[in-house]
Structures are given as C-alpha cells and as structure tokens.
Symmetry: C2
Amino acid sequence: MSYVHPVVGVPPPAFNVVAPSTAGTKDLQGMPGTAGSLALRVLQFGFAAIALSVMASISDFQTVTAFCYLVVGTGLQSLWSLSMAALDGYALLLKRSIRRSSLVTLFAVGDWLCATLTLAAGCSTAGITVLLARDLDQCGPNDCSKLQASVALTFLAWFLSSCSFFFSFWVMATS
Amino acid sequence: MSYVHPVVGVPPPAFNVVAPSTAGTKDLQGMPGTAGSLALRVLQFGFAAIALSVMASISDFQTVTAFCYLVVGTGLQSLWSLSMAALDGYALLLKRSIRRSSLVTLFAVGDWLCATLTLAAGCSTAGITVLLARDLDQCGPNDCSKLQASVALTFLAWFLSSCSFFFSFWVMATS
C-alpha cells in the first residue's frame, strides 16, 4: 500500500527520528492512574493513619512539639494519599487518563511535599525516642514501644510516598 | 515550494507533533556539568561543613545519638558535594560532558540518598532542640543557639541538595 500526497514547505523527515521515551513506559505500574499507584496510595494511607492513631493513643503526647508534628504530618499524608487513591480509582474505573501535564505536576509537587513532611515528622520523633530509650534510659513511663511503632509506620508511609513521587516526577519529566 | 514524494505504508504525520522537551533544556543552569551545578555543590559543601563544625564545637555532643548522627550526615553530605563540585569543575574546565546515562543515574541516586540523610539528621536534631528550648525550657546549659544554628545550616544544605537531585533526576528521565 502506498500514498502519494503533496507536503507544502516541509522537508521529508529524517530516517533516524526516535520516538519519545514515554511510549515504552506508558503503563509502568506505579504511575498515576494504574493499579500499582492505587495500591501504593492505599498502603501509604494505611501506614500513616495507623501511625497517627498509635501516637494519639499516648496520653500526654501533646506536651512534646515533635509528637504533635508527627500527628499533623501523618494526618496530611493520610488525606493526600486518600485523595490520590480516589483519583486513581476514578481513572481505573472509568478508564480516563489523569496524565495531563498540569495534573502530573500537581501530583509530583504534592508527593514531594508530603514525603518531606512525613520524613521530617518521623525523624524528629525518632530523635526524641532514641534520646529517651538509649541516651537517657527513661523508657518506663514514656510508652517507648508505642513511640517506636509510630516512628516505624511513619517511615513506611514516607518510603511508599517517595515511590509515588518518583513515578509522578518521571511522568512529569517525560511528558 | 512543494514536494511530491511517495510514502510507503506510513500515514501522513499529524500537524501537532511536538519536539521532545529535552532539546530546549539541554543547558539549564543547575544540571550536572554547568556553572549553576558547581555553585550549588560549593554552597552545599559550605553549609554542611559549617553545620558539622558548629555541632562538633559543642563539648558534650557525643552524649546524644541524634547529634552524632548530624555530624555523620553532614560529613557525608560535605564529601559528596565536594566530589561532585570537583567533577563539575573538571567538566567545565575541559569542556567534557558528564551526562552519560550511567553517570547521571549515579548522581541522582547519590543526591537522593545524601538529601534524605541530611534532612533526617537535621530533623532529629531539630526535634531535640525544640524539646529542650520550648517543651522543657532547659536552654541555659545546652548551647541552644549552637544547636539552632547547626539545624538551620543543615536544612540549607538539604534544600540545595534537593535542588541538585531534581536536576539530576530530570536529566536521567529525559536522557
């Protein structure tokens, strides 16, 4: 089959033109709008929400600024992950694309901010937990096991949030 | 001017084909091998090295794990930034390209690890500094101003390291 058609003012294309690199990575699991991304979001939400609940169950957590910050940080992470999970579910159910340039930029910025806040919250609480458990050896009255569990869950939420950020940023850079 | 030529088995190209976005961002300041990147590296090294020195000048910093971790974290950040500054200087002086795929992947991974370690070090020390200065009001004997200066400098080093990571990751994704 062959066509003969006029092309006005445009030279014939070179033979070594390479397709944009996005074509091969279009459906990589974990990118926005895939089942992998939905799984990441649900796990992030789960870990962040449990970390928040464990911290909130310590009776005098309000007396330490870093513990309050962990509650705020994991709370924001939970809300963001839940919203993104809803968006991924919408994209999967209705088979719509959510990889428009402006949307993907918003995902990348939001993921970076949330991952940074969550890591900061986990580390500031971890610093105090290690101070109490190891440096001062005052773990009896301070619910150290709850603190350690809350920090570990926050780090898990941060790690998964970082994965989502990498996927969003990759799609942003290659779209 | 018009051409008439046969095209075998290939439909005519769409009119809204956009050139790949990498072409325009080839020499964006901050990308590996540019003067902007060299400036970022020198500043990262400076902030991390001063943060380390300020922390090391506190007489009993070894008694708190988080403070030792800040010294290790900013030490690693300084070494990484100095090595990258040397590489940028080499690329600029000899006009060599250091944007090979494997090298840029190494830069992106190294920058991410260093930025994460530095943020973690800054936040764990910040948690304890706020505990001492605000929650327990025990700032007299604890060199709080030095702690605050060290945390602020560590955050500056982290922010600049994050900028380098964004540039490296962008080049990695688009190359």
